[in-house]
């Protein structure tokens, strides 16, 4: 059907479920640190606006965390269901790393989350703040493990291959494999930035309805500081990440640039737009700026990089997919930079809270970070193809012995169920977001009915309307 086979469907299913999952952890990672900042500011200044904001966002955090767990359960099984050969040959390394991620999440859920969500009027302020910090750190540790695992698949290190099995030789090199530091910085910043723009959007929405709302003003203001600081760092980090990819995964980088071949003595152009044609091995309709890619990739005027044609056709990723998702991510990054600059210019002129056009823009722009985040992952993951473990094991050799029919059935099931759950979850989050940004105190905790084991119970908002 449509020229797809069971492996393609397995890949699509994995991509679908993990793209869905990643949105919620990214929300959790970003919001946990944001909540930590809010609480710190509240404790330091005593300004109740921070406290109100804390209570407002903690409900959204709770719902997002819950959905992250629900979708994460599926992920924990998919390596075996969809990629059993990989699971068996790589399990000595990736299995261990994944188990550590789950252990961390488990530990988190079991301990500090409860105090953070329900303990506000049961423990003293310092203890509560410590719990918030621990949750924030916990989300980062959780991300660390899974990113180590993913990075190891991108740039394997510290292993030895015995009969096609990847056995650990040196855990230190496995953990600090060449792409991990870049990926970690880039991903964590992505989560922070995505949440900042979400916060800006919610602030904008409330300012458009009530221009005096102090909490909404605070949100926009904080988010714009974050934008002007974190986005430039992200761009630099992304550039370094790209240079690292050039060193370790040259075929992926050539696909990101849409660079088919080198002309003798000429630099690499920057392809702004175009349609890479895999059959004709060239870009159609492309607009290119000569030498620019040479400048940022080799820091010389005429430097060359390996081109797609330097690799056999069956070792190239899907070029249009990588090319375009990369442009979506970078494009959004540039728009974010622009938004941050305009926002802070307006702040300087004293008009940040009173420019309806700008407020409307940040409202519309609020999901942008999450789109860039998924686009970035697709670039990374699709660009690694046709390898599961880069250069060592092919995706086509990694998949489970499943039939086409099984894959169609399960994929349909996942899409239908996730669509329903997503609709319910987003509907509920939007309901929470539309509320005035001064939350009531969530109560409960040990001895009461609301409990950490049930993140959703932090919100009492009715579902109907």
């Amino acid at each position: 059907m449509f020229g797809l086979d069971a492996v393609d469907l397995a890949r699509f299913q994995f991509a679908f479920t993990v793209s869905y999952h990643i949105v919620f952890p990214a929300l959790s990672i970003g919001l946990a640190s944001f909540l930590m900042a809010l609480e710190a500011l509240w404790l330091k200044t005593g300004n109740e606006v921070y406290h109100g904001l804390y209570r407002f966002w903690i409900r959204i955090f709770a719902v997002g965390f819950g959905l992250g767990v629900v979708s994460g359960v599926v992920m924990a099984y998919e390596f075996g269901t969809n990629w059993s050969v990989f699971a068996q040959r790589g399990g000595d390394i990736t299995g261990v790393l994944l188990t550590y991620e789950v252990l961390t999440a488990f530990f988190l859920e079991a301990g500090f989350l409860g105090v953070m969500l329900f303990g506000e009027n049961r423990v003293n302020r310092t203890t509560h703040f410590l719990a918030t910090c621990m949750v924030a750190i916990g989300t980062l540790i959780s991300a660390t493990w899974i990113l180590i695992s993913n990075s190891w698949m991108q740039t394997p290190a510290g292993y030895h291959l015995v009969d096609g099995h990847f056995l650990p030789a040196d855990w230190f090199s496995i953990i600090f494999n060449p792409s991990f530091p870049y990926r970690f910085v880039h991903m964590v910043l992505a989560a922070f930035i995505s949440v900042s723009f979400l916060v800006a959007g919610v602030g904008g929405y409330h300012l458009l309805r009530n221009g005096k709302d102090p909490a909404a003003r605070k949100m926009i203001s904080m988010a714009m500081w974050m934008a002007i600081i974190a986005v430039p760092i992200q761009i630099v980090a992304g550039d370094m990440h790209g240079l690292n990819t050039l060193r370790h995964q040259p075929a992926k980088l050539a696909a990101m640039e849409g660079h088919w071949e080198n002309q003798p003595g000429e630099g690499v152009p920057l392809a702004l737009v175009g349609w890479p044609d895999m059959k004709q091995e060239r870009n159609r309709f492309s607009i290119e700026i000569p030498h620019v890619a040479s400048l940022y990739l080799t820091h010389t005027w005429g430097g060359q990089i390996q081109s797609l044609k330097d690799f056999p056709a069956d070792e190239r990723p899907d070029v249009p997919l990588v090319f375009w998702t990369f442009r979506i991510m970078v494009g959004i990054g540039m728009l974010m930079l622009l938004t941050g600059v305009v926002g802070n210019y307006l702040r300087w002129r004293g008009k940040l809270f009173t420019t309806p056009l700008f407020l409307r823009w940040v409202t519309i722009f609020s999901p942008a970070g999450f789109i860039a985040l998924i686009a970035g992952w697709v670039t990374t993951e699709a660009g690694r193809q046709p390898w599961v473990v880069y250069g060592l094991m092919r995706t086509a050799d990694a998949h489970s012995p499943l039939s086409f029919g099984e894959m169609v059935a399960s994929l349909t099931g996942f899409i239908v169920v996730y669509a329903i759950i997503f609709a319910i979850g987003i509907y509920y989050i939007l309901k929470l977001i539309r509320k005035e940004p001064q939350g009531e105190l969530p109560s409960g905790g040990p001895g009461q009915n609301n409990t950490p084991k049930r993140p959703f119970s932090a919100t009492l908002e009715s579902f109907d309307d």
Partner: protein, 338 residues
């Protein structure tokens, strides 16, 4: 017999066995409540039934993730063979668990759609349990594995035996659920649970008897292990204990000894698991893969055990604490988390 084999995989076998047992007991009774849901008489009764597991179900379910991820790290071969072999029932189970989870969270927040969340809760629980039973039956029945990969076909798991274990587990979890409701509720809801307990225990006993006859009949190695002398002398204690416990439960229902019933049901389940271990040890993917074949290398297993050794005790203490905190009966008056 196994003295020259490394010990670390056996420790891991015990650790993961423990996680599986915790899952079966804890999520077993949570799913059981969902299975009993359709027999409730009123909305407020359903509130109470759900309320009795509300604070703990998420933690209960987490044991499944711990067991699954632990398998991947410690026994990649088990993970990589069982999961594709039982693909369809496992996917069905995951989807059903999603529905159940969402129903838990949103049922109380909605009046208008409550009947839909009721349906999702009951349906999700029944389907997830049935699928788990089928998975169990499929593994016990044996998987066609060659070169450490599943080498059978799509519907290998679909046998009369696995369908039977699927149905049996539904009764089994329902009895755990009823046992839990007896502890956690009073009045009408408790009566409902009491009434269900005898037939459910009987069905559970029957199912265990059929499975214990079926497996040795179809697998001579298992028959050998149970019925050869001297094994038969000390192993027959297992079925004897099972019957004793079941009879005991009958009397406890008459005498209304609330807490004992649940405890004894848990013991019944444990005996069932012990029976499985006796039948199959050291095979983890019957009929061909032993736990040493399936284990990841010593470097991986020892790296991982550090994490478990630190985190598992903390989680256990916390779990015990949260059960302690939520002890006592649920009543309409203490259900304000709705």
């Amino acid at each position: 017999m196994f003295t020259d084999m490394p010990i670390l995989p056996v420790i891991w076998f015990a650790v993961i066995g423990f996680a599986v047992a915790m899952y079966i007991i804890l999520d077993g009774f949570s799913l059981g409540i969902g299975i009993l849901f359709p027999f409730s008489k009123s909305d407020s009764q359903r509130d109470l039934m759900m309320g009795s597991v509300m604070p703990v179900w998420d933690g209960n379910q987490t044991w499944m993730i711990l067991a699954g991820a632990g398998l991947y790290g410690a026994f990649p071969v088990v993970y990589a063979t069982i999961l594709p072999a039982l693909y369809l029932p496992l996917v069905l189970m995951l989807l059903a668990l999603i529905f159940r989870g969402i129903a838990f969270e949103f049922r109380g927040k909605s009046r208008k759609y409550r009947h839909m969340f009721d349906l999702a809760f009951a349906g999700g629980s029944v389907v997830a349990t049935f699928a788990q039973g089928v998975v169990l039956g499929g593994i016990v029945h044996g998987l066609h594995v060659s070169d450490y990969q599943f080498a059978g076909s799509t519907f290998d798991w679909l046998t009369p035996f696995s369908l039977f274990t699927g149905i049996a587990l539904v009764f089994g979890y329902a009895s755990l659920g009823a046992g839990w409701l007896v502890v956690k509720t009073e009045g009408e809801t408790q009566n409902l649970a009491y009434k269900a307990l005898r037939p459910l225990t009987l069905l559970l006993l029957l199912a265990m008897a059929i499975i214990s006859a079926w497996t040795p009949l179809s697998n001579s190695a298992i028959a050998e292990r149970w019925f050869s002398t001297p094994n038969v002398y000390y192993l027959s204690i297992v079925p004897v204990l099972v019957v004793l416990l079941a009879v005991n439960i009958f009397f406890d229902v008459t005498a209304r000894r609330e807490k004992l019933i649940f405890t004894k049901l848990v013991m019944l389940f444990m005996l069932g698991l012990i029976g499985l271990v006796i039948s199959f040890f050291p095979y983890v993917v019957p009929p061909s893969v032993t736990l040493w074949d399936a284990a990841s290398g010593p470097s991986s297993q020892s790296f991982l055990i550090v994490g478990y050794a630190v985190i598992l005790p903390i989680v256990l203490i916390y779990t015990a604490y949260s059960y302690y905190v939520f002890r006592g009966k649920v009543k309409p008056g203490n259900l304000h988390h709705y």
